[in-house]
């Protein structure tokens, strides 16, 4: 009887350890990383920040897309906003679509931010951050440049007005437009 009990206890302890290990492996396997340049951009459908309705990435196929992730509480996003708007006005005639994705943010504050910075390109809301997670966004602002086929051409993890990124962003825009 004692031997059986001892065996049972060992099996239960091993099962607990195996369960914890399985959880760890699952967590590591499902950790979200930024999709690499050259891969297909993760699909999404998000509601518009203003005006209702939603936009899917698939509906933008055929256009180069600049996907900018931001939030109203993010300080570098403020300095980047003006540059983004200028680039949007410059490149939209060449068919390039700029799309802002506001994440982990209050809708009211985000709308105030858009209005205060005079941003005119479409804005989508990802409050829970689900889509943002699939793009491996850890800190905003981050920007992806997508080709007409929906492939990632460039990923800039920082404000595009930063000297390190300005040239890279301009080169990516020239490449896709």
């Amino acid at each position: 009887m004692t031997g059986r009990l001892r065996l049972g206890a060992h099996v239960a302890a091993l099962a607990c350890v195996a369960g914890l290990l399985a959880l760890l492996v699952w967590k590591l396997a499902h950790q979200q990383h930024a999709p690499p340049v050259g891969s297909a951009a993760p699909a999404f459908t998000l509601p518009r920040l203003e005006g209702g309705g939603s936009v899917s990435l698939a509906s933008l196929r055929g256009h180069p897309v600049v996907l900018n992730f931001w939030a109203s509480w993010c300080t570098p996003c403020k300095s980047e906003a003006r540059v983004l708007e200028q680039d949007w006005l410059r490149y939209r005639n060449r068919g390039v679509l700029f799309v802002g994705v506001d994440y982990h943010d209050l809708g009211s504050d985000a709308r105030t931010f858009v209005s205060a910075h005079g941003l005119t390109f479409p804005m989508l809301a990802d409050g829970p951050g689900g889509v943002t997670g699939t793009y491996g966004i850890s800190q905003v602002p981050e920007t992806y440049v997508l080709s007409r086929q929906g492939k990632i051409v460039a990923h800039l993890a920082g404000p595009i007005n930063d000297s390190a990124f300005t040239a890279k962003f301009a080169a990516a825009l020239r490449e896709v437009s």
Binding site: S72, W73, H104, D105, L106, G127, G129
Partner: protein, 152 residues
């Protein structure tokens, strides 16, 4: 007399003002800071000073000032950020595990402990090797008797 009456009325109005400002009992920022998560740092608001957390703290303070209840504020935050903004796991789906696993753990541990105590109180010496029987064999007794006889 009229002056006294006026004073009472003014005092009543002054005292009743703040009380009437909110028809329902107010919640507090410190309470909600422990109930709401910072979406970017995955800790509760009271443990975070990130920009996202600061924004939510200001929002909560504004809503408390506007007499919103804790439930109304939490519901508004869930509409913005999703259910993950609430620190307490929901009572459905996979989140149920967070509620039931600790209970199962405590019950299981209690059962194991109770069983161990029961076995111990029942006499754990069941498994001990039997004590050697008292007394000496015949040969040894004889030798002892001879030795004792030599002493006399």
């Amino acid at each position: 007399m009229i002056r006294r009456l006026l004073l009472v009325v003014v005092a009543a109005l002054v005292l009743a003002g703040p009380a009437a400002a909110c028809a329902r009992p107010r919640t507090s920022l410190s309470f909600l800071e422990g109930q709401v998560m910072c979406p970017t740092c995955h800790t509760t608001l009271d443990q975070s000073d990130s920009q996202a957390a600061q924004q939510i703290k200001v929002y909560i303070a504004q809503k408390i000032a506007a007499c919103w209840t804790a439930q109304e504020i939490e519901a508004a935050l869930v509409r913005n950020y999703g259910q993950g903004i609430i620190a307490e796991p929901s009572h459905k789906g996979f989140d149920l595990l967070a509620w039931w696993l600790p209970i199962a753990g405590v019950l299981g541990g209690g059962l194991v402990l109770a069983f161990g105590v029961w076995r111990w109180s029942r006499g754990g010496d069941d498994e001990l090797p039997a004590a050697p029987e008292a007394g000496l064999d015949e040969e040894t007794e004889q030798k002892i008797d001879e030795l004792l006889a030599g002493l006399d």
